[in-house]
Subunit: 334 residues, 2 copies
DNA sequence: TGCGGGTGTTTTAACGTTCAAAAGCCCTGG
DNA sequence: CCAGGGCTTTTGAACGTTAAAACACCCGCA
């Protein structure tokens, strides 16, 4: 494996000149640069990242803790990881995966990775209400950026990127309204997670704006399973005034809604319009296709990386991105 | 951030002694070790991995290319990644993610990561028939291990770990047989991928062993969607002698089977037994639960890491692991 | 008393890179 | 002909660690 020294010898220049050819080519006379580049090419030289990192104390690696929530399906995690990787690579960086206990118990792992210089900083996801990790990292001055707001806080200890769930619900409601729905229900989650509250609020507010009823139209599901979606949908359909549209908090719940509709001989998109959230791979794979709110993964990822690697000013960076409604057969015929 | 030198000064020993305290503690006199450890603790010292890697030329990082197959759902990828991370961490290693073009076009990326010493080696997945990556890496002497055999080759250029798909199908057939099924169909994929052939062969051979019919009972689906599963199942049920059991090549196809059964008023697990493959999160989330073949992810991951990091002998390591049948309501009542 | 051998610790020299500063070169203008 | 300044290139040192060799010390034994 060739080193700078060998390239330098071959090109008959000093080591530093070769280094400059790579890092600051404008400093070299064109003919020197040409000569050095030829030697680099010829010897198939690749800079040793460890040596570079040692000198500059920047590893260009970003830590991401791969979540392990046994009860929750991560249907879009591979999309997220792919986008994150791609975004990191546009600036010559990479993603380092690791595991850690949830919440604050995992923090020593983060600290260790940073202290041993395996990573420059972290991307956090699976943010929870009052997530203690943010404050912890900030206090230790470990760079990070969060995918997901720490909800209900007036000030947030650190930069974040998030998707506007309220706006997403509103989009879904508006779409269902546009195709003629007038009683639009909402399938929600159990515990009042920040995520659920955000999306629920968007539904309620948009319904109000449009003069649509909301009373008796929001149902809380016990967990994020198809079965729960089925149950909740059945309850809605059995009520005195059944809905003609259903906005579900997740694709899984929406799938439950689709199934219950099917069981009753109702046609999704014709008799009742259904939308999901996150545009997971499932949405495309079911029939009829599930109308769902796509998170702008590429944008999310690049904002995360930009914030983390950019020379951030003192004020914390905060980006609220808009989801996109992907319309399929479950909400509109054809 | 404390360095070896500072710890050495604090403990009043040489730098090397501190290094030994960490890497070869048996060389130190107990009292010295104690003293050094106290200083390490006190100064909160963490070894700088870059300096170490530079010196030892081992980064303890394993590359994994995050796949980007837009048409395929990676329902178990997060499980795999989690297991891989955890396995790597048991030997102090970590996973570095990257993106690369598929097949041989991506090889320069692998080469570059290795040459620049960002990783020690690679874990390959999404192996395809006659995958060219294996030979390429072997020729360049870049360490790797493959999750998935290169099918149809008599000899394989490198170590691999795989799950015995044929045995999996056989397990499913045996199970359906045990609960009284006598006409067991198989839902397969389109192109004769090695994976599909393997699983199909297991079904056929097990049916033969049990004296069950196979003729007219294997259907090829156009793609891995619920819709295709529905179509194929419908075709089977419409035939002169419909099956009473269905082994599907994937959970997605199995979901299609479940749906078509439901549409016809047939009860999965009672009228027709259905099994899937991979035990994706979906299997648990549908109702009735989908009987499916779980890949032993933890075992797969630890074998991959062991092979990659172990002092492998000359003979390539090859591990064929057995899947486990997770029985749920789709194949047996209750 | 001297000497071999083990044990514990220190010294020396890298690993491959970049930073800061110094040095060399070449041109221009007085 | 030389001072001065702008390019270009080189020199020296450092980043934090570990491998290998050297060293110091103690013990038992001749």
């Amino acid at each position: 494996m060739a080193t700078l020294k060998q390239v330098a010898a071959h090109a008959e220049v000093s080591v530093q000149t070769v280094s400059n050819a790579l890092n600051a080519p404008h400093r070299l006379r064109p003919d020197t640069l040409e000569r050095v580049n030829r030697s680099i090419e010829l010897l198939n030289y690749r800079p040793n990242r460890n040596a570079r990192s040692l000198r500059t104390s920047a590893v260009e690696l970003i830590g991401y803790c791969v979540p392990d929530w046994p009860n929750q399906t991560h249907l879009v995690m591979d999309q997220f990881l792919h986008a994150l990787c791609a975004a990191a690579e546009t600036s010559g960086r990479h993603i380092l995966l690791f595991t850690a206990p949830p919440a604050v118990e995992g923090m020593p792992v983060y600290d260790d990775l940073h202290a041993r210089r395996l990573v420059d900083g972290f991307v956090l996801s699976q943010t929870e209400t009052h997530d203690p990790r943010h404050g912890w990292l900030k206090e230790k001055q470990i760079p990070f950026v969060s995918f997901g707001r720490v909800w209900k806080e007036t000030t947030q200890p650190g930069p974040w990127v998030d998707v506007d769930g309220a706006a997403g619900s509103a989009l879904a409601v508006q779409h269902l309204y546009d195709v003629g729905r007038r009683r639009i229900a909402f399938l929600s989650w159990p515990k009042s997670s920040g995520l659920a509250e955000d999306r629920l609020a968007g539904w309620r507010s948009k319904c109000n704006d449009l003069g649509l009823p909301t009373s008796g139209l929001s149902v809380h599901c016990g967990e994020d399973t198809i079965e729960e979606g089925v149950r909740a949908t059945a309850a809605l359909l059995d009520s005195a005034q059944p809905p003609d549209g259903i906005v579900a908090l997740s694709d899984i719940l929406a799938l439950g809604a689709l199934r219950e509709l099917g069981r009753r001989g109702l046609t999704p998109g014709v008799d009742v319009g259904v939308t999901g959230f996150d545009d997971s791979p499932l949405a495309e794979v079911v029939s009829p296709g599930l109308t769902s709110l796509r998170q702008p993964m590429d944008r999310i990822a690049s904002e995360l990386i930009n914030i983390l690697t950019g020379t951030s000013t003192g004020v914390p960076a905060e980006r609220l991105l808009q989801p996109e409604l992907v319309i399929r057969g479950s909400s509109a015929p054809g």
